[in-house]
Amino acid sequence: MNAPLPINGQASGDCAPVLKERGQREVFCGLTGIIWLHRKMQDAFFLVVGSRTCAHLLQSAAGVMIFAEPRFATAIMEERDLAGLADANEELDRIVDQLLERRPEIKSLFLVGSCPSEVIKLDLAKAAQRLGAKHAPLVRVINYSGSGIETTFTQGEDACLASLVPIMPRSAPDAEKSLLLVGSLPDIVEDQFMRLLAELGIRNVASLPERAVADLPAIGSNTHYLLAQPFLGDTGQALDERGAKHISALFPFGVEGTSNWLRAAAAVFDIDPAHVEAVLAPYQLRAEKALAHQREKLAGKSIFFMPDSQLEVPLARFLSRELGMVLTEVGTPYLHRGHLAEELTLLPGHVQLSEGQNVDKQLDRVRAEKPDLTVCGLGLANPLEQEGLSTKWAIELVFSPIHGFDQAGDLAELFARPLRRRDVLRV
């Protein structure tokens, strides 16, 4: 199980062999994505059809973020729901009625599948159809699965966005060429990108998701899409099936990634490269200035990524190429060769990539390696700190604005802070 396996049986030139492991995984399930998705899509409500464990996960992962009544909840299945599926469906209808009565402002309702609902084969697609018909036209009902038996952490967003693709309107065959940014970004980052794209001269830009599900953009063969997140394999496939075209690029982390990402879009829209460079130059300069401060602290320091969000490969590329950090192992829950193609070619040759997880064996490697910094989930951070190893909570990389030029410094700071804290403490 420990032996490195080349993917697809052939050694490709783009990176080192990948260590594939099975065992205990210390990762969240896809339900966790609801925590940021419900903030992003403000007319949507996420109803998990699951167990008390699901509800407990959401509140634990979110901390207690209940300052107002949140737009997510769990329909907790009980003993009698397991007796027969007919009853479970009836119960679900009752819960949805109750919910919509209480929250009349909801325009889109996501029924989110969980491990227990998948195992008892509760058909949420059918339920969404039934409930959608019942509550049309006021409420649209959509379904996807965030279950742990199928999805890891950010794959929940992938499943959610993929569920939206089939209901995006079709654009006219002769529609003007348009750009679709895919992946939920904090509003401030999304606005920055919109301004930059406008400066570059790209018009017709839309996002998936938009801030309201009701505003889903049209899509067709004239749509070119640019992934803002590296974990959107199924969404990409669904977009391909609708005729949209993928723009291959680095992911927009750091100066190099953001520049490459924007250049790739500009090329598709036939923007004069000289104009592109003229637009990007001041942003690049500003970002490089911000990075210079952090480079002093991070250069030469070693870093180990435990698998968490699938952001690991692009972040490792950024840390290694722009901040001079030394990569030891870069673990990711799932390695999407296609979407990461450009990223993988830029990783240094010696790096150990790993996919999947056997957490105990991986922790053995962390202890052997003694990296200066280990990126890991919340369940592992304090135990590693207790052993004298500095850690960075991976979840912060998902919840904080880290994309683009103006967040490059902040992104580097997230890695520098644990090291700096270690230096300043005398206790």
Partner: protein, 534 residues
Amino acid sequence: MQLAVWTYEGPPHVGAMRVATAMDGIHYLLHAPQGDTYADLLFTMIERRGKRPPVTYTTFQARDLGKDTSELFQDAARDSIERFKPDAMLVGASCTAELIQDDPAGLIEKMGLPIPIVPLELPSYQRKESWGASETFYQIVRNLVDKNIRPEPKEGLNGKRRPLVNLLGPTALGFRHRDDVVEITRLLHAMGINVNVTAPLGANMADIQRLGAADFNIVLYPETGEMAADFLKREFGQPKVTTVPIGVNATQDFVREVAALADIDPSPMLAEGQSRMGWWSRSVDSNYLTGKRVFIFGDASHAVAAARVAHEEMGFKVCGLGCYNREYARDIRAAAKLYDVEPLITDDHLAVEKAIEEAHPELVLGTQMERHIAKRCGIGCSVISSPVHVQDFPARYSPHMGFEGANVLFDEWVHPLVMGLEEHLLTMFRDDFEFHDGAGASHLGPGHSAAKAAKTETHSPTANDVQKSADAAPAANPTDGLIMWSADADKELKKIPFFVRGKARRNTETFAAEQGLETIELATLYEAKAHYAR
């Protein structure tokens, strides 16, 4: 199905984790899909534990279903025994694994493993976290205790030995369990009693084996310890002490109960001066605490104990009492009768929020959820019960049990209130520029009270938009045709200190409505004040 935005208790396997994590050398093999590992962070982040919980999750995926989940389970069992070398292993299923019916207990039995195994049946779709902890601890005791160990004779060659007790119930992630155990152990030592075993917190397999050596058991936390204590009573005839020693009076009752079972004189421990709490409460500064309305919600044992302290030792008025764990609802009902309030038995925090708003308390004693509710309503709050967050695991020593615990309760409950001396100053200087409404109480830091006071008003059900507009435009009340404030009355209302103004407004409006008045005149304000005088 039950619609839940937030839950007071996790699933029962989290309760089992609280027991396993509290103990040494006990590993928990949990048949579960990926994602259930989230529960680790409760211990490593909220409680700041420096070790991972001793739990191995089998981590099955969709593609394993119907094929080799049982093999996965057996592999995980072998691997975790080899890696962690536990003295004993708990095996069980989380909610999803329960549905695939792999029968962990049966699978394990077939393997003939070299260590004792405690199989757990925790029905996820019926039961919750506290029950899961209680059942797990009970199963550990039932499976591992050495039935041949009995108490030594009371009189030996070296004279009379000290009485020996077990402390049962403290777990990982328990509210103040760490410090309560220290405090009660000290108290017992001072009484001349030794602790045989504290469990589950800090206990190992050898400790569990020798539980029978104690003369009797003390159940510190009935929610997690009572099932095991009942078993030990049946099996060994060990009596159990069930008084929860929270507050001076309950601690004294506890001392009497323990002393009676141990056959020792309780009087030294009942003497004045064991706790400062009584004097702190009788001293004149505390006059202002009299009749403060307090709403109490938590697990039943903590809520009942807090109500007694609030009523007898602080001089508060209990205006609401409830618990989220139905298993102990009877205790809450009995206590609610004492204080003449409706018992609130619910695990729906929205129902709790509604009850709090309706009760108009001046202080809320609750869990982390009531802290959030109280914050929203602009009411002071102190935490008395699980579930709690990271700030409720303080670095300092701060038990809630025993005589020192009573001191801690006084401090923690008084802190969110405006202090007596300060209340007088605020009244005297209310027109002073530094004591304007927005300045707030000094101990709460800047920017606290103005927003809070406004919020209190807007959140009360009898209050509505009237109040916001009344503040903006005195005596004008465009949105509510029922009750108007005259300019004089409104001006007078503003002279009332901000922290009681909301109540004064509500009382006056309720009074006016009862009297069928359309306008609140200056006199109405004072008539209402006289009407509600206490």
